[in-house]
C-alpha cells in the first residue's frame, strides 16, 4: 500500500511530465485502435458491397475479374451472355430471382448499367439493406435514368435533368456519343457507400435502343424520335452478367456446377463471398504494413515514457536514499518505479480508448458522409482488448528498465548521494 501511495503522489507531483507521457501513450492508443477499427470497417463494408445475392453469373473468366466488373464496375467484360442462355437459366427450378445487367456505356466517367426494375429491390448492401430513392422514382419510360448519389452530387444533377450517354467508358467524344437519345433523370438514389453511388442506371431496352444504328463503331442515323424506338418493341439480345438469388442456399453448389457445365455457351458462376475473400487476401499485406507502422508509434510512446522516467532518476536518487534509510528494501524501490510506469501506461491506454470512442461517436456521421465508410460502433472486441493488453504489458516490461536502474542505484548509493 505504501508503494501505491508513494507512486500516486509522485506521479501527481510531476503532473506535467506525467500528463504529457499519458497523452503520448493515449494518442498512440487512439491511432492503433482507430486503424484497427477502420481496417475492420473497410473490410466489412467491402464485403458488404453486395448482400443477398447468392451467385453472380457471367461469361467464362476468372472470378475476381467477373466480380470486379459486375459489382465494382472496374475494368471491362470480355464477352456477353446471350439472352437465350439467360432464358435457360431463368427456367431452372432453383432460381428465385434474376437481375441482369448490361455494361459498356458511360456518362462523364460514371458507368452506365442497363438492368431491369427489380435491380432496386434485389441488389442489396450491408446486411440486406435495399437501395432507396433520395428523390424521384425508378425509370418507367425508355429514356429515363436513375443516378447514384455521387453522380448527382458531383455533376449537380437533379430529377428532370437531361443527360447524354457515351459509347464506351471514356469521356464524351464528339461523334461517339448517344446525343440523339438523351435521358431524363427519373430518380436519385440515397448514398450507400457502394459502387451504386457512382452508377447511372437505365433499362436494358434503353441500352438496346441507343445502340441501334451503331454498327462496327460507326453510326448510321436512321431513327429519329422516341416514338420510333418505342414502336420497335426492343428486346435485348445479350447481357453482361446476372445477379442470381436462389430459393434455397442448399442448392448453391449444385447450381454452380450446372452453370459451369452449361454446354451452349462458356459461362461461369461465382459465390460473391468466396471471391471477396480472394480479393481481400491481396490487401492483407497492406493491413500488415499499417499494423507495423502503428505499432511503431506505440513503441515510440513507450520509449518516451522510459526516457522521462530514466531522466527523473538522477534527481530521485535522494528520495531513494531516504526510503532506504527508513528501512525500505531495494525491492520496494523497484516496485515503486514499476507501479509508476504501470499507472501511467494504464491511464494512457484507458484514456486513449475512451477518447477513441468519443471521437468515433462524434465523427461517425461525417466520415460516413464524406467517404461512404460505414463504421459500426461496437463495444471493444477481442482484437481491441488484445491490443490494449499488449500495450499495457509492453509498458510494464519497459517500466522494468528504469526500475532496474533505480534498484541498482539504491543498492550502490545506500545512504550516500553525492549531490
Amino acid at each position: 500500500m505504501l508503494v501505491f501511495n508513494l507512486a500516486y503522489k509522485s506521479i501527481m507531483n510531476r503532473k506535467l511530465t506525467s500528463l504529457l507521457t499519458i497523452i503520448s501513450i493515449s494518442l498512440s492508443v487512439i491511432l492503433i485502435l482507430s486503424v484497427e477499427k477502420i481496417r475492420k470497417s473497410t473490410r466489412t463494408s467491402f464485403i458488404n458491397t453486395i448482400s443477398g445475392t447468392d451467385l453472380v453469373i457471367g461469361p467464362r473468366a476468372s472470378g475476381i475479374q467477373l466480380l470486379l466488373y459486375s459489382v465494382f464496375h472496374m475494368g471491362d467484360a470480355t464477352a456477353n451472355i446471350t439472352i437465350k442462355t439467360v432464358e435457360d437459366i431463368k427456367k431452372r427450378s432453383e432460381i428465385d430471382w434474376v437481375v441482369p445487367i448490361s455494361l459498356g456505356d458511360s456518362h462523364k466517367g460514371f458507368r452506365v448499367i442497363g438492368t431491369t426494375n427489380n435491380y432496386f429491390e434485389r441488389i442489396r448492401y450491408r446486411r440486406n439493406m435495399t437501395l432507396k430513392f433520395d428523390k424521384g422514382n425508378s425509370f418507367s419510360n425508355l429514356f429515363e435514368a436513375v443516378i447514384g448519389n455521387d453522380v448527382a452530387n458531383s455533376l449537380g444533377y437533379n430529377v428532370g435533368d437531361k443527360i447524354i450517354l457515351a459509347h464506351g467508358t471514356g469521356d464524351v467524344i464528339f461523334g461517339k456519343d448517344h446525343s440523339d437519345t438523351p435521358f431524363i433523370i427519373s430518380g436519385i438514389l440515397e448514398k450507400t457507400g457502394t459502387p451504386s453511388d457512382r452508377a447511372v442506371i437505365v433499362s436494358l431496352e434503353a441500352i438496346e435502343a441507343i445502340h441501334i444504328g451503331w454498327n462496327s463503331g460507326t453510326y448510321d442515323k436512321k431513327i429519329k424520335t422516341v416514338k420510333d424506338y418505342k414502336a420497335m418493341n426492343l428486346k435485348p439480345t445479350n447481357v453482361t452478367a446476372l445477379f442470381v438469388g436462389l430459393k434455397s442456399r442448399m442448392t448453391t453448389f449444385s447450381f454452380q456446377r450446372w452453370i459451369n457445365r452449361y454446354s451452349q455457351e462458356p459461362i461461369t458462376a461465382i459465390l460473391p463471398g468466396v471471391v471477396f475473400g480472394e480479393l481481400w487476401s491481396l490487401i492483407v499485406n497492406i493491413e500488415k504494413a499499417l499494423l507495423i507502422v502503428t505499432s511503431m508509434v506505440v513503441f515510440t510512446a513507450l520509449l518516451g515514457m522510459i526516457v522521462s522516467i530514466l531522466s527523473s532518476l538522477n534527481e530521485r536518487r535522494r528520495e531513494m536514499a531516504i526510503l532506504r534509510s527508513l528501512g525500505a528494501k531495494p525491492i520496494h524501490i523497484f516496485t515503486l518505479f514499476i507501479t509508476e510506469s504501470s499507472c501511467i501506461a494504464f491511464l494512457g491506454v484507458f484514456s486513449g480508448a475512451t477518447a477513441m470512442y468519443a471521437l468515433l461517436f462524434t465523427f461517425k456521421p461525417i466520415i460516413e458522409k464524406f467517404t461512404g465508410l460505414y463504421i459500426e460502433i461496437t463495444s471493444p472486441g477481442n482484437n481491441e482488448f488484445i491490443i490494449m493488453l499488449i500495450i499495457i504489458l509492453a509498458s510494464i516490461i519497459s517500466g522494468i528498465i528504469p526500475a532496474l536502474r533505480a534498484y541498482s542505484l539504491s543498492l550502490s548509493d545506500g545512504l550516500i548521494v553525492k549531490s
Binding site: 505504501l2 509522485s10 531516504i322 534509510s325 527508513l326 528501512g327 528494501k329 545506500g414
Partner: protein, 240 residues
C-alpha cells in the same frame, strides 16, 4: 528484553570496495557506544564516516568483522533482515534533503510507521494515534503541526526540514538515532536550538544518539566523543 550494555559494538571491520578507477579500503579496530549515551564522532568528509554510518545502519556489509547493534549481530543477517532491523530500530537524520518532497510534512513523519510494525505498535493502535504522536513530535521540535502539517515538505525552510527529519527519526521510539551532520546546513542559533531539542527527545525516549559532525564547539554536549581518525583507517587510492 535482553540486557544490553552497548548500543553499538564494532570490532575488526574490514571493507574494501573498488572499481576500475578507485580502490577504497576501510579498517576499523574497535568502536563501542554504550546504551543511553550520546556520542559524537568528529571528522571531515571523505574520512570514511559515511561508510561507518552505512555499516552501523546495515546498508553496507563489510567483508569481515563483528557488528553488534543493540545486541544483534548484523553481520549474520541477510540484506532483507538488516533492512527490517533498520526500519524497526534506527532513526536516521541526514545533513539535508531529508524529506520526500512530494509528501506533506505529516506524511513524511509517518513514513517509518508504514515500514515498521514495531514502531507502529509503540505509537498506538489506530491511525488517529499515529497522527497524534506525529503532531506531538512536530510541535515538540518546534514545527507547528497545525500550520505546517499538511504543507508539502518541499515548501518548508531548511531549518524546518531538519526538525521534521528529527521528528521522523524519533517517531515510534527507535532505540538508536544516527545523525549525519544534521546541523551543518543551519546557522549557529538554529543549530543550538536544534541540538537542544534533539537532546530533549533522546532523554525523554531513552534513546542512544550517535552524531557525526565537524563542529568541535558542540563536543561538551555529548557524553562521549571520538575522532574519526582514531577509529578508522581508510584509504582511497587511484589506480593508474
Amino acid at each position: 528484553m535482553k540486557n544490553i550494555r552497548s548500543a553499538i559494538q564494532l570490532s575488526d571491520l574490514c571493507f574494501s570496495w573498488g572499481n576500475s578507477a578507485n580502490d577504497f579500503n576501510f579498517k576499523l579496530n574497535n568502536f563501542v557506544l554504550p546504551v543511553n549515551t550520546s556520542g559524537i564522532i568528529l571528522g571531515s568528509s571523505g574520512s570514511g564516516k559515511s561508510t561507518l554510518l552505512g555499516i552501523i545502519s546495515g546498508i553496507i556489509k563489510p567483508n569481515v568483522g563483528v557488528i553488534k547493534v543493540l545486541g544483534e549481530d548484523l553481520f549474520k543477517m541477510t540484506g532483507s533482515q538488516r533492512d527490517r532491523f533498520r526500519a524497526d530500530n534506527i532513526g536516521i537524520i541526514f545533513q539535508q534533503f531529508n524529506l520526500i518532497p512530494y509528501l506533506s510534512t505529516l506524511e513524511n513523519v509517518l513514513l517509518p510507521l508504514r515500514l515498521s510494525l514495531k514502531r507502529r505498535i509503540s505509537c498506538g493502535s489506530s491511525k488517529e494515534q499515529y497522527i497524534y504522536e506525529a503532531k506531538k513530535l512536530l510541535d515538540a521540535l518546534g514545527v507547528s503541526s497545525k500550520k505546517f502539517g499538511n504543507q508539502l515538505a518541499s515548501t518548508l525552510s531548511v531549518g524546518q526540514q531538519q526538525r521534521v527529519a528529527a521528528a521522523r527519526a524519533f517517531i515510534g521510539s527507535p532505540p538508536l538515532i544516527i545523525a549525519d551532520e544534521p546541523t551543518s546546513s543551519l546557522d549557529e542559533i538554529s543549530e543550538t536550538d536544534f541540538l537542544k531539542q534533539l537532546f530533549k527527545q533522546t532523554s525523554t525516549n531513552k534513546t542512544t544518539l550517535l552524531l557525526v559532525s565537524h563542529n568541535k564547539k558542540i563536543i561538551p554536549k555529548f557524553n562521549k566523543s571520538f575522532e574519526i581518525t582514531d577509529i578508522i583507517q581508510s584509504t582511497l587510492s587511484q589506480k593508474t
